[in-house]
Symmetry: C2
Subunit: 566 residues, 2 copies
């Protein structure tokens, strides 16, 4: 989110704005959204779960999906969640019946670097403190289900190992919703014969759990149970895959997840209803909120504004090639968030110099946005560029970028939803462009057919979306390709795990590089989620804490109010 | 809880009874209990949190506390929680204004052996499935706070270790609310310089966390913050204690716990209000629900029925010597739950033969109950014996036990709250006896003064309560006693970690053994909770799963209802 307020105006901190906002009782938000009382379960005054099985909505065509994606992100921050919230508020202000579908924040990063992840400035979902902390407990339920599975697996091995599971070939890890570097690589089961079977292991952060991905792709409770049963957690001594159904615990895991699977209703500062539900990683998973939340929102609203993690090369591609194949949720419009600052960084400016006006760097960096625009068009959809305004942007820079979009033939608008709020007039022009785009003719198609061999699917993404010359598979990856073929998993789509900062697999190569090869070092079949993860470069599935973690400034004041979230 | 229904009557399974029970909306329960609307936060239809800071109650003397404790437990099960719920229902039926204060069940054992822990038969708290699974997320919040602390500690060491923490002398562990044997002894921080600092470690179950004990002894949010700050998590290279306040993260931990600290309101099958909140281990901690729940219940009701873990040698002693010193919550009556089956086991009968009538074994085993009666009297309180009736008890056995109680001069009553329910007439006689005991004169006093040296406190408990000849300290324990003295912790009360099955430190010695010595192998100062744990024998702080875990029969049916909880 923006680091400086617009000139001549002081925007208070996020927590301060959130605290001053007057929330409506969530019962009012639910009623206004058309949710019948039977389907609402309150969690405190300002949060509720909606039970899709009890939701009664009139027969109508489902709401249109607006997918908010972005150029390649930079450490400067582009404010994608802020833009998503602000755009929905602006569409609502223009008279549309709108609902937001967003991911839940992960607690680990909140305690680490971020201090919060619910939008910013005057475009936030509320209550920001509760959403950023435990919310309604969904991630805790997923952590429990994940760790129950692994306790049951290790117990099975300890109690005689009837299934013949090879402890050296377990592919599933325990998880914590915590940034905990020390748990990346561990040895467990020490202490002698009464304490388990020793083996090498590691912990991931909860959002990296396949159970999170399964949770977010399940159509309903029965489908969740099926998908959980299909998860491959390891291999036997004779190298056959072992699934959760082989162990017979898909029922228990479903039971642990049944309440969590109901989407969470909250509100924006402007009172727009938002379903905030699920939150898989955008590298080793598909990076968007639960399918159930998206579909529930579509039953209630005409326009559903949703977001996919990282840049459009990752988030949007996965939304199109993974999520939109599981259910008919293809977007009617795709918004690409771009900022002057980030484009200057792609044009070669160092992070510390981004506030200095520099149209030349902007012109050099815009190739990054250009490739993302080209990519979205490959799915049969014309994007809208949202120029997310920061206080340090000059009129010259903003004009240059708008003019460039016009020349490129892509609709665009400058939005100031952080400083003025989508509920104010900060996103009116953007909302108008997006509404036009929704109604424009478009013909969605995924990038590749499922029957294509896995290696070719990867090659297609790498060449068509990243702009690479080709792909290079490591020896282990080639071996894994053969295994995938043998186990009958070739028909699954691919989920690329690549750095979000570059089209290449090298985070330092900004802009729109050409003449490169992407290196796939390993593949992980996620048979419950239903995709094959391709690992390129180093992929972090358990973050660490910084030297001065955000937790050090967090507290509760004398009146019981939160301190130090942002 | 009883394994067989009373003769001539079939009592359905717990989950079946719970499902058939018609719950009132929790708003009705709250209103009937005298809770003002501002203090209620709903969690679904049948659970709510009560905010003590917003609770408005008339000035009156606080409700009287009835502590339900027991003879030394056996694997046969004595039904203490069932009796607690049933007694409260019966007191309510007799016209008293009653509230229950109970511990929350831990998820790990639910998935392992127990399948549930919310009472049984017709004496249950509801909704049993939700209480047994994630409930309102309190234990997850405690798990998060505990693991945030340890991630921050290991990060501090990794980032330069300014405090000089010795990684070999950390006394705090990570926790999971899971029975996970393989995590008892682990090595973490492997993988090279970027992945942390390698060290030997282990995981406990969440209920064993000192944060759980702190949570359950805190008077309010400010006191919680103070206590968290006082937790000693390890020692420096020069052997000085390092606290959470030294690390500066007591604020963040408090923030993670602030919603969880509000007690949870639910109802019994008979509609009696119950606060189910917190649940520390009864061995390495004090084993009863949160102080805040007890005190909140006392603001609302004339009689608060609460329970302490294990037999009276552990649970009741700690209630008197730890919890009742933190706040003025000394019981006005103590109920000792006894069963014919368990007494026969203490009289030498094997577990498989308990259904055969055997007055001789009963007479031999009653010495166990006798010692517990004597012990309760040492605190200045006259106990009431609750004979919890099982279907296999014969009239001769029940009469013999009642007559024995009369001869012993202790009030007693046979209760059938499992089969007939406290809301029925199953506990009427017991309720009358308990009401009498509350009004009888009694003068509570703890067993030992705080200024007594720690070794003498332990010797006092061991001789006065367990009936031992004396105590024997290991060499490490003696070293620790000196450290405790040096660090100024001698004024803390003692928390004995001993097997619950025997007065001795050997689980196989039933009845009322004499001529034994208790061996203290180590001491753990819990400076946040405010007690010194004395470890005797093997104390399990991370349970394992059995060969056939309860999780294998758990599921969700086609209508989304839970299956396999009991």
């Amino acid at each position: 989110m923006p680091a400086t307020p617009p000139p001549g105006k002081t925007v208070p901190g996020d927590l301060e704005i959130a605290r001053q906002a007057v929330m409506k009782p969530i019962s009012d938000i639910a009623a206004a959204a058309g949710v019948n009382d039977e389907a609402v379960e309150f969690y405190g005054r300002y949060k509720a779960k909606i039970d899709p099985a009890k939701l009664m909505t009139p027969a109508r065509s489902p709401g249109k999906v607006v997918l908010v994606s972005a150029m390649s992100p930079t450490p400067a921050g582009e404010g994608k969640s802020t833009l998503t919230v602000g755009l929905a508020d602006s569409l609502s202000r223009a008279g549309h019946k709108v609902m937001i579908a967003l991911r839940e924040p992960s607690l680990g990063p909140v305690l680490g670097m971020k201090g919060g992840a619910t939008g910013g400035g005057y475009s936030q979902v509320l209550p920001m403190d509760e959403i950023n902390l435990h919310f309604t407990g969904d991630f805790h339920a997923i952590t429990s289900a994940n760790n129950a599975l692994m306790a049951l697996v290790d117990n099975h091995i300890f109690q005689g190992n009837e299934l013949g599971i090879d402890p050296r070939r377990l592919t599933f890890k325990r998880v914590l919703d915590m940034n905990d570097r020390s748990l990346r690589e561990v040895v467990i089961g020490l202490g002698g014969p009464a304490q388990g079977v020793p083996r090498q292991d590691g912990f991931d952060i909860t959002v990296a759990s396949e159970i999170m991905a399964v949770f977010c792709l399940a159509a309903d409770l029965a489908d969740l149970r099926e998908r959980l049963g299909r998860i491959t957690f390891g291999y036997t001594y004779d190298r056959s895959p072992v699934t959760v159904a082989d162990l017979g615990v898909q029922g228990a895991l479903t039971l642990l997840l049944k309440e969590a699977l109901k989407p969470n209703l909250v509100q924006t500062i402007a009172g727009t209803p938002a379903l905030v539900h699920g939150g898989p990683f955008a590298n080793i998973a598909h990076g968007c909120n639960s399918l159930i939340a998206t579909q529930t929102a579509r039953r209630l609203a005409d326009i559903v504004v949703t977001e996919a993690g990282f840049g459009a090369d990752l988030g949007a591609e996965k939304f199109m090639d993974i999520k939109s194949r599981v259910a008919d949720v293809a977007p009617s419009a795709v918004v690409l968030v771009a900022t002057v600052r980030a484009l200057k960084m792609h044009g070669g400016v160092a992070k510390d110099n981004l506030t200095a006006p520099n149209v030349e760097a902007l012109a050099a960096g815009v190739v990054n946005l250009q490739r993302h625009i080209r990519n979205v068009r490959k799915f049969g959809i014309e994007p809208v560029v949202a120029i997310n305004k920061f206080g340090t942007d000059t009129p010259e820079e903003l004009d240059w970028l708008s003019d460039w979009c016009t020349a490129e033939g892509v609709p665009s608008a400058v939005a100031d939803v952080w400083g003025r709020g989508g509920g104010g007039d900060g996103g009116d022009e953007l909302a108008a462009k997006v509404a036009e785009a929704i109604d424009a003719p478009h013909g969605f198609k995924p990038l590749y057919p499922l029957e294509m061999p896995v290696a070719d699917k990867i090659r297609t993404i790498v060449q068509e979306i990243y702009g690479a010359d080709g792909v290079d598979f490591s020896v282990p990856a080639l071996r894994r390709l053969a295994e995938i073929e043998k186990n009958g998993w070739s028909g699954l789509p691919v989920c690329m795990a690549k750095t979000q900062y570059s089209f290449t697999d090298d985070a330092t190569r900004l802009g729109a590089p050409t003449g490169f090869t992407v290196h796939v070092r390993d593949l992980i079949p996620k048979t419950g989620a239903g995709f094959i993860v391709a690992l390129t470069g180093a992929v972090m599935t358990m973050p660490g804490l910084p030297k001065v973690p955000a937790a050090l400034r967090m507290d509760v004041d004398g009146a019981g109010n939160p301190v130090g979230l942002s």
